[in-house]
């Protein structure tokens, strides 16, 4: 159902400049509070043959959409360009790009052969230094996977200029929603991070909730009411085959999440009205209880090294965030602000916890350090919840639901600086996004 597209990266050795160019002046420090977006140009790539004509333009548009979508870059549109790039090999007229203040210039070529093989080459230039930034790269894939190639080029550009890992060649699994609030139909869907290539993974015959990727992105855990009771399922993304993972009679299970090595699943299990955390060994299916308290313990998330778990508990009387060892034991509370805290998610960098906060009738997505300090609220609305981290830990995607009888859920993303709040296009209503790791 979903084709795995193999992409091969190869370094092109073409009068490449010394690596020291990477430490040149073309640089965005995205830890700074406010930045002026860096102006750049990405003219249509040069088609090496007539079959590549349309893709040459489409690939440039996706690269531009990725870069400008970060809020860190600002594209100088083609109608302002002085030079035309008509040959990938010819020297660049830097003066023409300086004149329009394009600090970065991306050029490329595209060729397509009769078998549908797509070859893209690109270079990134530091216009004001008059040299390349990093080496030219060649990416090989299929015409069907052209968007992935474009995302990979954009990831390279983003990475070279910011010094951070990219996140454009990634996917999002989410719950597609249709119908009114009291009869909402939900089904699992997967798409590229930018909303392209939506594919449905389940039908809407049963309520499905909160999908989560495995560390390699090929499996998804989710909760389904297929049997009439909430149970955790594991779905294989490629085959769409699924199996129930947890089905103890007389219990309900939900809020699953993989450990970073993919061998364990931590989840919530309700029995006799009490919800505690359990961990399951995926290969043997055996479960072990991690918490044992009359309070609600839910929404667990592992630290990237797998040694700790952050979760939500109302043991203090209101829902707050706690961290404990992955093997269980006494948790320590990390949230102390006014309000109710939930759905904590450990950043892939390990330094921050994203969470949902309810305060004074509003919902917020926020981040705090793992000791609970430096809490920052990034959003505010009638209902924001369920943060998920981009693979590089710079962006958070979440659910925003509007108020009232016509209320509708959509996906939004926001930088961890609180800037660049954007709706993610999904067609139908959408909730519970989970961002995949960067694809191979």
């Amino acid at each position: 159902m979903i084709n795995r597209i193999m992409i091969f990266l190869a370094v092109l050795m073409i009068w490449s400049p010394p690596l020291s160019a990477q430490t040149g002046p073309l640089r965005i420090e995205i830890t700074e509070g406010v930045i002026e977006p860096m102006p750049y140009a990405v003219p249509d790539l040069v088609p090496a043959n007539s079959a590549a004509g349309e893709l040459a333009s489409n690939i440039a548009r996706v690269i531009a959409s990725d870069l400008s979508g970060t809020g860190l870059f600002r594209e100088i549109p083609a109608n302002a360009h002085i030079s035309r790039i008509t040959s990938f090999q010819s020297p660049v007229q830097f003066s023409d790009w300086k004149a329009i203040n394009a600090q970065a210039l991306i050029t490329g070529s595209v060729s397509v052969d009769g078998a549908g093989k797509l070859v893209v080459q690109f270079r990134l230039y530091d216009v004001f230094a008059g040299q390349e930034l990093g080496q030219g790269l060649q990416l090989v894939g299929t015409t069907e996977g052209w968007r992935r190639i474009a995302h990979k080029v954009a990831d390279q550009v983003y990475s070279r200029i910011t010094g951070e890992g990219g996140y454009f060649d990634s996917r999002v699994v989410f719950v597609a929603e249709t119908g009114p609030k009291d009869k909402r139909a939900k089904r699992l869907a997967i798409m590229d991070y930018d909303g392209a290539n939506v594919t449905y993974l389940t039908d809407s015959s049963a309520i499905v909730l909160a999908p989560r990727f495995s560390p390699t992105g090929d499996k998804v855990l989710y909760t389904s009411y297929e049997t009439g009771f909430p149970r955790i399922y594991e779905l294989d993304v490629a085959s769409v085959g699924r199996r129930v993972l947890e089905s103890q009679e007389g219990t309900m299970s939900f809020a699953p999440r993989f450990s970073p090595d993919g061998r364990q699943v931590v989840f919530s299990l309700s029995r006799g009205g009490n919800t505690d955390l359990y961990v399951m060994d995926v290969s043997s299916g055996s479960s072990r209880r991690l918490t044992n308290a009359p309070s609600i313990e839910t929404a667990p998330s592992y630290s990237p090294d797998g040694s700790q778990i952050v979760f939500e508990s109302d043991r203090s009387g209101t829902p707050q965030l706690y961290i404990m060892a992955a093997s269980g034991g006494e948790p320590r509370r990390i949230s102390f602000g006014k309000g109710r805290y939930g759905t904590p998610v450990w950043s892939p960098r390990g330094d921050l916890i994203a969470f949902t906060k309810q305060s004074k009738g509003r919902f917020h997505i926020g981040v705090m350090r793992i000791d609970g300090s430096e809490e920052q609220l990034l959003t505010a609305s009638f209902l924001d919840e369920g943060p998920s981290w981009s693979p590089n830990g710079r962006v958070i995607m979440f659910t925003r639901e509007t108020q009232g009888a016509q209320g509708r859920a959509s996906l939004y993303s926001v930088d961890i600086t609180g800037r660049n709040l954007r709706q993610v296009p999904t067609g139908t209503g959408a909730s519970d996004p989970a961002w995949s790791p960067l694809q191979n």
């Binding site: 009291d182 909730l209 909430p230 309700s270 009490n274 609600i296 939930g342 949902t356 919840e385």
Partner: protein, 157 residues
């Protein structure tokens, strides 16, 4: 005294509303005039109890309704029940699932304490997934913070 008055009023209202012989609402079967029918249970005994914000303890009104449920279940032993716990939309999805589980369990415990056999009752939480009222105001929220006893025939499996 107050509890009894509340019950009498509810019964009266329901009787007025359901004087037609055969009605089917939310899948409940049978005739509203037949005291052994699931529809009678739903409409006359009262199939749901409501909860305060973020609470799962039973109010006096709720306990009076559940006394009626327990009595009906005792006199109609061929039926089983699934108790659905629900929450309003103010809260995260996961917390509300757990809260709905608490509410369904509170109802189950009460029915058990009134002599209903444990093997006739199952519980499930829908969290905030299935509101019956869809506005974003307290008038709707108070109807959505509920536990509903759904009657079915045969074993709950």
């Amino acid at each position: 005294m107050i509890l009894l008055a509340g019950l009498a009023l509810a019964a009266c209202t329901n009787a007025d509303r359901f004087n037609e012989d055969t009605v089917e609402l939310n899948g409940a079967q049978g005739s509203a005039g037949d005291p052994t029918s699931p529809l009678y249970f739903q409409e006359t005994v009262g199939d749901r109890v409501l909860f305060e914000v973020d609470q799962s303890s039973l109010t006096g009104t709720a306990m009076a309704t559940l006394d009626g449920q327990a009595q009906w279940l005792t006199t109609n032993p061929e039926y089983t029940a699934v108790i659905e716990g629900h929450a309003d939309e103010q809260g995260t999805r996961e917390y509300n699932l757990a809260l709905g589980a608490r509410r369904a369990n509170a109802v189950q415990e009460y029915l058990l304490s009134r002599g209903v056999a444990g093997n006739r009752l199952k519980v499930v939480s829908f969290g905030k997934e299935r509101p019956i009222e869809i506005c974003s105001e307290e008038s709707c929220y108070e109807q959505n913070r509920r536990a509903v006893t759904i009657i079915s025939s045969g074993l709950t499996g």
